[in-house]
Amino acid sequence: MSFENPFKKTGRTWNSRSGNGCSCGRHASELDHALDRSSEDARIRSAVEETVLRAVFPDPIARRTFLSTVGSATALAAIASVFPYATVTEAFAQATPEKKDLKVGFIPITCATPIIMAKPMGFYEKQGLNVDVVKTAGWAVIRDKTLNKEYDAAHMLAPMPLAISLGVGSAPVPFAMPAVENINGQAITLSIKHKDKRDPKTWKGFKFGVPFDYSMHNYLLRYYLAEAGLDPDTDVQIRSVPPPEMVANLRADNIDGFLGPDPFNQRAVFDGAGFIHILSKEMWDGHPCCAFAASKEFITTSPNTYAALLRAIIEATAFATKDENRKQIAAGIAPANYLNQPETVLEQVLTGTYADGLGKIVKDPRRVDFDPFPYQSFAIWILTQMKRWGQIKGDVDYKAVAEQVYLTTDTTKLMKEVGLTPPADPLKGFSVMGKAFDPTKPAEYLASFPIKRS
């Protein structure tokens, strides 16, 4: 938000966000603006200037009149004579992190790409942070280590911060999810022996694996099965299986299929154990999967560190959104220190040009995508599904919980800081498998399902 003369011929007002170019006007795009370090200092300074001006002239019309009369430079100089910009600018720029050495846990799946790649690609360093990304053995362990503060923040499944805040499956500790890691990026993979059994109605008696009870995978799988008329608790068996074991279990015939994270879907294809039946994107395009989460305690006690960390991740996410960067990212996260997978598997997942296990090469560039914004409507949908399957009992104040856990304001602010465009409506509606979801009417949505537990 730079200090623009509101009557410039371009027609952009100081709070205008539309059009191309960037917000300070000196870069070709928002992204270039975001990646330009020098402009950040300028931006901070201009942010201070604008704040002060707003304080002096709270009325926008009066403000514009003043500016048009004296011109921006004079206006600044006049105020500078009575206000110490320099000190304030310095103070704001020195919002240095309280804690520079951090540990962030991750599970080695492609959902965590922004968290992971931020390390080898220097996004953490850029914020002055020394982050140790620690590979963790499983979701329960990552939850426990974050709860006992061995990790400052972690890669979690999107429902997990909700579950932890509500005290479902662990002690209730207020958690926040300021950023979604990835959207899409999952698939239902079936054992190669079922290649002629693609109609879900024939799946009665199948055994499925999902990574964790409180996961989008579990809810999406159940939704899919319920749409086909199968009751997920009585007509099939759903078990928690750690992702790497999914492929082995598939090969060993312990499970007939799984709805799991990449790269294990592609890995199953790569090893000839299974084929990809349907991408999660085809069920709900833009569904959240994994998230970056931290305890509220961390956020309140180390706000600068939290902001820096979040900024790094948001920038990394922005970088990952671009198709041309995907190959490079695959190479960066393939080594043993991170995902420890063959590079070609990761490439197929990230670029969306992949073998489907049945002899075809499919091109779907949005197979996995990265958008950090934690829509509160996601939270509400997850809560309805948790209630649907009996994971939470009793009444839930959907909106309140969603607002507390999915911190849209933080993300909005920081997205702007790094030059991204945050969505205007945190409560956007969407459709899942063709059925519309209205986040303002969660109870009705829940009631509309024939197969449920509550």
């Binding site: 590979k135 220190n337 073998a355 090469i361």
Partner: protein, 280 residues
């Protein structure tokens, strides 16, 4: 005929058995699975198993090559989650030794008390009998929940599992000290402390060391399992990491190294056992 000593003969037979096993293994994995006719573009995206029918299970040569790779550069450090096998083994051994020492410091004095006092023996017996059979991995969640630190929890689990053999053996060894020797100590007016140190301890030492040998074996078993559960560093974590990558070769190599280290630990204690043995 030159008489070949028993050791040499045994060694030769061992080698023969090993060679047979390796050859059988090699034959078992060199078979080809079904291959489908695939478009070469497609084939590029697929792994060797799907396209060439290569067995998912590695053969001895592949395992040998990977093993050489692991041990020839054991101390590399390419980041938090990727360290050389020497470093990982170091972490595991460190945890084992720490947990084991702590257990010894508790078990041996407690074993003395139990061995020398029929009252304490009877009083503590129910606790020992109930706690002894509990599997280490059952302790793990409880430890994590209360201790809240995964490294300390792992050491605690080692501690609680290596405690019992040492405790029981020490108690037994102490109680079985020949009465004659204790009588000698009495007639020499030796104080209880001096008696314990100069008579009972050396007398019970072989039995105590047997207990220690059993304990270290258990401790090594437990650490691998605990590290797989908790992750971070260590050979157990290494196995899990390789399993993640479905790299069976490295899993096999890890198992081999785990066995070798376990054997070394056991041998160290066997030496110690030899040092305190006496002919009676």
């Amino acid at each position: 005929m030159i008489a070949i000593p028993l050791n040499v003969r045994a060694g030769l037979v061992s080698l023969l058995i090993l060679a047979t096993l390796l050859i059988a293994w090699h034959i078992a994995v060199s078979g080809s699975g079904p291959t489908a006719k695939v478009d070469p573009e497609y084939a590029k995206l697929m792994g060797a198993t799907a396209t060439q029918g290569k067995s998912a299970m590695p053969g001895p040569i592949e395992v040998g090559q990977k093993l050489w790779g692991l041990v020839s550069d054991p101390f590399y450090d390419r980041g938090t989650n990727d360290k050389g096998i020497g470093i990982q083994l170091g972490y595991s051994i460190g945890r084992v030794l720490l947990g084991f020492m702590l257990a010894a410091m508790v078990a041996i004095p407690l074993g003395f008390i139990v061995g020398m006092s029929p009252l304490m023996s009877a009083a503590l017996n129910p606790f020992i009998q109930i706690l002894k059979p509990i599997s280490p991995l059952a302790w793990m969640p409880l430890a994590l929940y209360t201790i809240k630190d995964s490294s300390i929890s792992a050491i605690f689990v080692i501690f609680i599992c290596s405690l019992w053999p040492m405790l029981i053996n020490t108690a037994f060894g102490v109680a079985s000290v020949r009465k004659d020797w204790v009588n000698v100590a009495k007639t020499l007016e030796m104080s209880p402390g001096r008696t314990a140190w100069r008579v009972i301890l050396p007398a019970a030492a072989p039995t105590i060391l047997t207990g220690m040998r059993i304990s270290i074996g258990i401790a090594w078993l437990v650490i691998v399992a605990a590290e797989m559960l908790v992750g971070g560093t260590g050979i157990g974590y290494f196995v899990w990491n390789e399993w993640n990558n479905l790299s069976i070769t490295n899993v096999i190599n890890s198992i081999l190294l785990i066995g070798v280290v376990g054997m070394i630990l056991d041998q160290m204690l066997a030496r110690l056992q030899g040092a305190v043995a006496y002919a009676d």
